[in-house]
Amino acid sequence: MMSVTIETPNRPRTRKQANWEKYGWLFMRVSGPLLIVLIFTHLVVNLVLGDGIKAIDFAFVAGKWADPFWQVWDLAMLWLALIHGTNGMRTIVNDYAGQVKVRRALTTTLWAVCALLILLGTLVIFTFDPCPAGASAELLASFCPAQ
């Protein structure tokens, strides 16, 4: 077998900029296990316990978000899931979009949608009123004064 000798091997690549691709790779592996805990619990509480899907209505959400624990839980789920999902979609776009323009347009759209939904979701969680004034009493949770 012939051995190949490289006369003057290239120096390893040095970078001055941060390696974003590495941080993206790491983020997927850190957010993944966190999302398993967050989402599997979300599924058990909302779809398995009690009456499951049948019990979900405005009063159910109000009951959860009246508690800061579930506000923080859902906030973490919102941010991590959207960034994790958008970064995954970016990976797929990078694999299949051949043209630079198409790839740029798709990744820009993905991050714009991600930012918009994170903003919307965060505002909804923190400005939510579990007992809105003027709402019909039978739609509200039992702890509301209108009940």
Partner: protein, 125 residues
């Protein structure tokens, strides 16, 4: 005589199919997530608006689709743990195939356990 190519360790085997399933389940979950953030945001519009839209999650067709969603989430999450094990655990590559079948088994068992309970609620009165 024509010699049939022997293939590789990856192509057509567990490595490739777990990658395919991870992508498809990931894309499916992503699009559901977009819809789910929007439908939940309706709680900020009015109790009526939220209740009307969330009722559609309790219809037979969507109720059946939810089994697929739960299965996709379980597979994607557990297979993600397998990917992490392959990356960081010294024996990860040795047991990648075994781990794939563990992921499939746990997903199938969990969905099988969830299905009768969920369908009774969706189709019951």
């Amino acid at each position: 005589m024509a010699i049939k190519p022997a293939g590789t360790l990856y192509r057509g085997k567990v490595g490739m199919w777990s990658w395919v399933l991870h992508r498809i389940s990931g894309v499916g979950i992503f699009f559901f997530l977009l819809v789910h953030v929007l439908d939940t945001a309706l709680v900020r519009v009015s109790p009526e608006a939220y209740n009307i839209v969330i009722e559609s999650y309790k219809t037979p067709v969507v109720g059946l689709a939810e089994l697929g969603l739960v299965g996709a989430i379980l597979f994607h999450g557990l297979n993600g743990l397998r990917v992490i094990a392959i990356d960081f655990w010294s024996k990860g590559t040795k047991y990648q195939s075994v781990m794939f079948w563990v992921v499939i088994t746990v997903t199938v068992v969990a969905v099988a356990g969830f299905t009768p309970m969920h369908l009774a609620r969706v189709f019951g009165h």
